[in-house]
Symmetry: C2
């Protein structure tokens, strides 16, 4: 099974990325410091867009950089791209093939912005369109659903953030990721067993906030692509502004709630869901209080810092989606209706 082995490959890929791309991120950071970059303009789709959501929080919180997610149709169908003065333009795409993402980078260059491609193919059109390249070096990803290319994209973003303004402590924390990942992968048989309970779940919502807003989106996407579960991701704040109304008693809610600044607000939401609608909770966390609320607690190591928690939290989410897909009897390698490379304009 490619999907399964690609999930297991992640600690190794992250480990080698840390040494192989360190120079590249330092070079990009130096170039950024020379220019008056005032914000980031980022284009991506699907899983890579979720990596962009992580960049939104990480570059904002740790580097003071506001980030705008591009609306590619302005560059393609409308042909009215905005003025990108003083922007760093980033395109993220596993294949580097999607014409609309390439369009955004080309326009960035035309407007004399600094441009950066984050891709798994150093010879792709996206890589060629950019001033700088971060090669995620995930190796060929055979399964249609992205796993190792997601975490390597996150790793490139975390390394770039650290090169831009990080301390030695942050570089040391980056080096711990493979160990934390391995520790989570050890829960595989437990997750395989627990997934049985969700054999007939056909809809759910996935909650996350702050850095793990990205994790909620990526977990939901895996469930949709692989297990054909209608899974809608929300920030716990947005969820209270309307959508919470639709949940009936016993509705399954998946939550990403590691320790950190938004933890208390997430726990308050989970308690409310238990109390008001007896929600069935699946919770990824490293806090006992949060895990004790769950029918299915998915544990990550206690010492994972919040800024890197998305790289660790997504692993139990991927394993859950994988085993649920098997429990439902669907094809984990080639989901219906989608292909590995989707070329949208």
């Amino acid at each position: 099974m490619s999907l399964y082995s690609e999930i297991l490959e992640q600690p190794e890929r992250i480990h080698s990325l840390l040494s192989s791309q360190r120079k590249a991120v330092e070079k990009i950071a130096a170039a950024l410091r020379e220019r008056d970059v005032q914000y980031v303009f980022l284009a991506a789709r699907g899983t890579s867009d979720n990596a962009g959501r992580y960049a939104n929080y990480l570059l904002g919180a740790l580097n003071g950089l506001p980030l705008a997610l591009a609306t590619p149709s302005l560059f393609t169908y409308y042909k009215q791209p905005p003025k990108l003065k003083n922007a760093l333009v980033i395109g993220i795409s596993q294949s580097g093939q999607s014409p609309e993402i390439v369009s955004v980078l080309e326009e960035g260059r035309r407007q004399n912005c600094l441009t950066l491609a984050i891709t798994n193919d150093a010879k792709s059109p996206l890589a060629k369109a950019a001033d700088f390249l971060l090669d995620i070096q995930a190796g060929k990803e055979k399964a249609v659903a992205a796993t190792k290319t997601y975490t390597t994209e996150l790793m490139c973003i975390a390394m770039l953030s650290t090169a831009l303004g990080g301390s030695k402590t942050r570089w040391n924390e980056l080096a711990e990721i493979p160990r934390w990942m391995k520790s989570v992968l050890r829960h595989d048989s437990l997750i395989a067993q627990s997934a049985e309970r969700y054999r007939y779940m056909d809809q759910t919502v996935v909650l996350g906030r702050g850095f793990n807003y990205a994790t909620a989106f990526e977990w939901a996407l895996k469930l949709k692509e692989l297990a054909y579960v209608k899974a809608e991701p929300y920030s716990s704040a947005d969820f209270q502004h309307g959508p919470i109304a639709m949940l009936e008693s016993g509705f399954p809610v998946l939550a990403v709630a590691p320790k950190g600044r938004v933890f208390e607000s997430m726990v308050a939401m989970l308690k409310r869901l238990r109390r008001e609608i007896s929600a069935e909770l699946v919770v990824i966390s490293n806090d006992k209080k949060a895990l004790s609320l769950a029918s299915l607690p998915l544990t990550i190591p206690a010492d994972v810092p919040e800024w890197l928690s998305p790289l660790i939290c997504i692993l139990p989410a991927q394993m859950f989606a994988y085993h649920l897909t098997q429990a439902k009897g669907f094809n984990t390698e080639r989901p219906r209706s989608i292909r590995k490379v989707t070329e949208t304009k």
Copy 2:
């Protein structure tokens, strides 16, 4: 019924807004021209966030302004707001009460940015925190689900865009909106009848692209809040990058597809959904080709220009959600679990 009468009020509210806020938008546009504003940083939640999605496309396409949707938790929980040099900071909130949206505007002022509040309460904390105010003047909105405050927020954004760089033609088109809205409201009894068919629909996806990406989000939100339907919005491009896999044969798909630059791509998607999964389609459009694909075609006037189509397309969507809520026997005025003012941090 407040909700019903608030839907019907919209042409009148839009009509009076056009004259009453014209001077205010001209003044803001003049102030913006004096400053070197390079992008917009916008904070909002729920329905107002969907108005922000319209601003993203409109200010991008017609005014060349990139737009970043704020991540309020960076200002509240993380207390690490990004550097907002040369940004116009906009907060949108019906009540003007949400502490996190106020936080973003206060931080914008602290960083010497130009700040703008778009709200229905000129005395609210949000209005007080801003340099400039656009009062949407929708009158008290009694129903919990927002309708007239959404279209008046869109109208303020469309007027600001026109004041910033619009021609006389665009001002004339703005003046046509009440007439177009009235023409759509005449289909009310037809929509009431047709909604019966969806009495047992409990999940759906809503597709839109470009300017009407916002409409897809707002339609889905009304269905969730009022009719408790699990409705997930997508751009038709994102939808192809994974989520399409989850649809079974006959799945209901709602689509916003008026004539314009993204029309052909929307129609191609709808045809694919008909062909591959025999999807049940509900389509809002002014094009015969698109309407003919639908089990339930919802017509808007032929001469609505694409840039203003979100103000018109949302009306059949609101009516559909209202009548479906009645068909399902739920409370249209006070949905379960939510309140009119949600104060998230």
